[in-house]
């Protein structure tokens, strides 16, 4: 399967994109700028109402732009109608044409482009092969399973060699097992086609598993753009940290001069980092070491004494719930090999290497607030946001 058959990656440049719906004060998308490199797998990740889908719909041309620009390759497409943008699109509900067979569905974009019949036959066959559905060309979509339908939708969206493929929560309607199979399929297609992918999801695991880079959306803006590793290991904001996995959060103060972080009477070493902001200190649960004996704590570690609340065996590791001295809760993932029984009520030493911590900006709302509660938000209720951040 050559990359020329199904198109080549095109760069997508989104600059200062804003969408304000009539009669609303808060813009749905507020001054978003991000560039997707040619052939890159970019994911827009965020809770519902964060502006990720609206941004995608503006790229696709379904939603008018209030201000800003979208450039595909060298062409400014900001004012073009969807049918002249040459972008493949995959929808959450498949959106296959029910009155056409699988083959007719896939041939549809080629017919719109007045492709010769012989070439249509050849390319439809190739596209069906790409998604391993060669046997299903004569069937109607209603005779296919959800996963098969979405694969037909993928084939249809790339058969005309689009400039990029836009995927709007394409796996959201599938059950868990099928979702992971289709994730593999999507990743394989990206590798084989070399096409630019823009993938929208609210599922952080999916984003981590698939993406070259992720743009984390919140309240109509982008919080951070980076590789999955960067976002997980070096989150720029508390929102990013809490949206991507769990964290132990300490709301203290950074002393830049002494490279120290003060929290509840503890003083920890804080080596300088690229983003040297004052804010909350975060430690991922799997970076936390628990020791009963304080002598066993490595000398260079930062640490504190915590109370064990519970110890849950999860197969690959133990999850130990902790109560911090200030009453807040935290957790540690302890490898089974290193685990011993921690009983509820035990006082243990929790420690971590200073390079495993990150200090992130906390929004103006004050300690304990997720950025969703920041003043510029107002779209999604805070309840739904914290629920998303929690899982």
């Amino acid at each position: 399967m050559s990359t020329t058959t199904f198109g080549q990656g095109t760069r997508i440049e989104i600059s200062h994109l804003t969408k304000r719906y009539p009669g609303t004060v808060v813009p749905a998308v507020d001054d978003v700028s991000v560039t997707v490199a040619a052939g890159e797998f970019m994911t827009f990740l965020g809770p519902s109402g964060s502006g990720k889908t609206t941004t995608l719909n503006m790229v696709a041309g379904f939603t008018d732009i209030t201000s800003g620009r979208i450039v595909l390759g060298d062409e400014d497409v900001s004012g073009l109608p969807p049918h002249r943008r040459d972008l493949g699109m995959v929808f959450q509900q498949y959106a296959l044409f029910p009155h056409m067979t699988v083959e007719q569905n896939i041939a549809f974009p080629l017919k719109q482009r007045k492709t010769p019949a012989a070439e249509i036959t050849r390319r439809v066959a190739e596209a069906l092969e790409l998604v391993h559905l060669s046997e299903y060309g004569k069937r109607y979509p209603s005779a296919l399973s959800g996963g098969q339908q979405q694969r037909v939708a993928l084939a249809r969206a790339v058969v005309f060699a689009p400039r990029a493929l836009l995927l709007d929560e394409p796996l959201g309607a599938l059950d868990r097992k099928l979702r992971s199979t289709l994730q593999d399929e999507v990743r394989r297609m990206h590798r084989e086609l070399g096409l630019t992918f823009v993938f929208v999801t609210h599922d952080q695991e999916e984003a981590l598993a698939l993406s070259d880079r992720i743009a984390v959306f919140n309240a109509g803006g982008i919080e951070q753009v980076g590789t999955p590793e960067e976002l997980y290991l070096r989150p720029a904001t508390l929102f990013v940290a809490e949206f991507l996995g769990e964290s132990n959060v300490f709301h203290g103060t950074l002393d830049r001069a002494r490279r120290a972080y003060h929290w509840q009477g503890s003083t920890w070493s804080a080596p300088s980092a690229a983003s040297d902001v004052d804010g909350a200190l975060l430690v991922r649960p799997e970076r936390l070491q628990l020791n009963v004996d304080s002598a066993a704590v490595p000398a260079e570690h930062n640490g504190l004494s915590v109370r064990v609340v519970s110890d849950i065996f999860l197969g690959t590791h133990h999850k130990v719930e902790l109560r911090m001295p200030d009453g807040s809760t935290g957790s540690a993932m302890v490898p089974v090999s290193a685990a011993r029984d921690f009983r509820p009520g035990d006082l243990v030493h929790a420690s971590w290497a200073p390079e495993d911590q990150s200090v992130v900006a906390v929004p103006a709302g004050g300690p304990g607030d997720v950025p969703g509660a920041a003043p510029r938000d107002g779209l999604a209720p805070p309840a739904s946001r914290s629920a998303t951040a929690a899982h």
Binding site: P82, G88, Q93, P98, H99, F108, P109, S142
Partner: protein
């Protein structure tokens, strides 16, 4: 087969038995009697049918009725399609208003509506006065055109409602998908929306056509005896001439025509009805 599911089927059959019995006694038997009588009264044979062919009026009236029915169907479809489309994309409040406007005629008596048309169409009535402003002399009362116009209005809800019900099942994202695949909005409508709304078109047209064939009040009030339709002819045969066998023959012919139309539509509409199931499955 385990015996349990089989036992559960028994009460279900019983559920529609009363309706079936009523239909058999009040509809099936009389129908059979009418058909039988058309072949046996006064003599066994086809005399009633040959008489119909020879009288020079009946065939003309049947053809006229078919022509009027087809015209009414076409007019109603042209009026109802855009209306149902707007209904399907309107806001809930707008939809409520549009639905009420469609249903309003159902809440008024058919007689009242026909008399309203009578007043509008009469000599020197509002319609004539309106057209006379342009120097046109329009006579609608007592003409087939007048009957057609009024029948279209009366039967419009039967076209709008099936159309709307099939349109509101169409996933509008299909149109977005078509556009993202390179179809102009007009092409997307023609290639995607129109075929998917076909079940509603078929249902609406069938309903309006069949109702038009046997329509009585409107042609009786607004038409004329020179331009009468099948139902008027039937009424004359039964009430004035007391020619029950002849009326039975005419009724049988009407029934056969209706059956033929339904059979033809059924052949073409089969893929469309499986389509409706398919669109329902998308949601």
């Amino acid at each position: 087969m385990p015996p349990r599911p089989a036992r559960r089927h028994v009460p279900r059959v019983l559920l529609f038995l009363p309706a079936l019995a009523l239909l058999a006694v009040a509809f099936g038997l009389p129908l059979l009697q009418i058909v039988l009588r058309s072949f046996t009264d006064p003599d066994v044979g086809l005399t009633n049918y040959t008489a119909m062919l020879d009288d020079g009026i009946t065939t003309t009236v049947i053809l006229r009725t078919l022509r009027v029915a087809v015209t009414v169907v076409v007019l109603a479809l042209l009026l109802a399609y855009p209306y149902a489309y707007v209904m399907s994309i309107a806001s809930p409040a707008g939809r409520a208003v549009l639905t009420t406007l469609v249903l309003l005629p159902f809440w008024t008596s058919l007689m009242a509506r026909n008399f309203a048309w009578l007043l509008l169409m009469q000599d020197g009535g509002p319609i004539q006065r309106f057209f006379s402003l342009f120097g046109l002399d329009v006579v609608l009362l007592g003409t087939t055109v007048g009957v057609t116009v009024a029948m279209t209005q009366v039967l419009l809800p039967f076209m709008v409602l099936p159309l709307y019900s099939s349109m509101q099942q169409i996933d509008r994202r299909l149109l977005q998908a078509a556009q993202s695949l390179g179809a102009k909005p007009r092409t997307a409508f023609r290639k995607i929306y129109l075929p998917l709304s076909a079940p509603g078109v078929v249902a609406g047209c069938t309903l309006v056509f069949i109702l038009s064939l046997g329509f009585y009040i409107t042609p009786a009030l607004l038409g004329s005896s020179q331009q009468s339709l099948v139902a008027q002819l039937l009424a004359i045969r039964t009430t004035a001439l007391l020619d029950f066998a002849g009326a039975g023959a005419l009724g049988t012919v009407l029934l056969v025509i209706t059956g033929l139309v339904l059979a033809v539509i059924g052949r073409f509409a089969r893929p469309a009805s499986s389509l409706a199931a398919a669109t329902g499955g998308v949601k």
